[in-house]
């Protein structure tokens, strides 16, 4: 699997940067010519991962979020969203649908469920006190196979 192109973005965990991360990623993916639904799926999954960093990883302060996106030959997109925040003690529990440690009145607890539903693969690794890394991938339909 040959790497075609990659980018790395580092930004502050401020909520205004949720839109920045989506827009920057969309701009990077233009070269892969994704369909509108494919692009929306990837933007949504990345928005969830970045929002998790902002809401959970750095409570009460701003920290650093790193977004890496890589495009491979054949249209495979791989994305890593990483923080150096509080980490998750029980990753399996955190990934259960409807589970949230945020405000239960306003947060749906669906972030990981959305990532899993909208991407092909999602892997989460975390160390309490060290941070969390979400790795996601999606195979784009080859442009010449589309109608």
């Amino acid at each position: 699997m040959k790497l075609v192109n990659q980018v790395k973005l580092v930004f502050s965990s401020r909520s205004i940067n949720e839109g920045f991360a989506r827009a920057a990623l969309a701009a990077f993916l233009v070269q892969a010519d994704p369909t509108v639904p494919q692009l929306a799926d990837i933007k949504t999954a990345v928005s969830e991962a970045v929002t998790n960093c902002i809401v959970h990883a750095y409570p009460g302060k701003a920290g650093q979020i790193t977004l890496r996106a890589a495009l491979y030959e054949g249209g495979l997109v791989k994305i890593v969203v990483a923080d150096r925040g509080v980490g998750i003690a029980d990753v399996a529990k955190a990934m259960e649908p409807l589970y949230t440690t945020g405000d239960p009145e306003e947060r749906a607890g669906l972030g990981f469920a959305v990532m899993q539903s909208f991407m092909d693969k999602v892997r989460v690794t975390s160390k309490p006190g060290r941070g969390t890394r979400v790795t996601m991938s999606k195979q784009l339909e080859a442009a010449d196979l589309r109608q």
């Binding site: 929306a40 969830e48 929002t51 902002i54 009145e105 749906a108």
Partner: protein, 98 residues
């Protein structure tokens, strides 16, 4: 950037949402919608998504939160006109729409 504008009509308050609804925008939308609900005390709050171009699960939290709030005042909420990608998110969250 998300926006919301309101049309009150009788016992209904229609809220027309547009733009991108994420965690950043949801905080502002929540305040604006709740202020209009407090001002009009509608029986029905109709959230219209026809102008929404992006929504992550923060939008689901926004809908569920407004549903709880309007129910606590004796009213109810409907979700209407979601575009295809928004329907995908609503289906995942099992939120009904018209």
């Amino acid at each position: 950037m998300a926006k919301v504008w309101f049309i009150p009509a009788g016992n209904t308050l229609a809220a027309y949402l547009s733009g991108e609804i994420d965690h950043h925008a949801a905080q502002m939308l929540r305040r604006e919608i709740d202020a209009q609900v407090d001002a009009h005390m509608p029986e029905l709050l109709a959230l219209d998504f026809s102008g929404v171009t992006f929504m992550d699960s923060s939008g689901v939290g926004l809908i569920l939160g407004r549903g709880r709030y309007i129910a606590s005042l004796g009213g109810r909420l409907t979700v209407q006109n979601p575009p295809a990608q928004i329907r995908k998110m609503l289906d995942l969250a099992r939120i009904h729409y018209v």
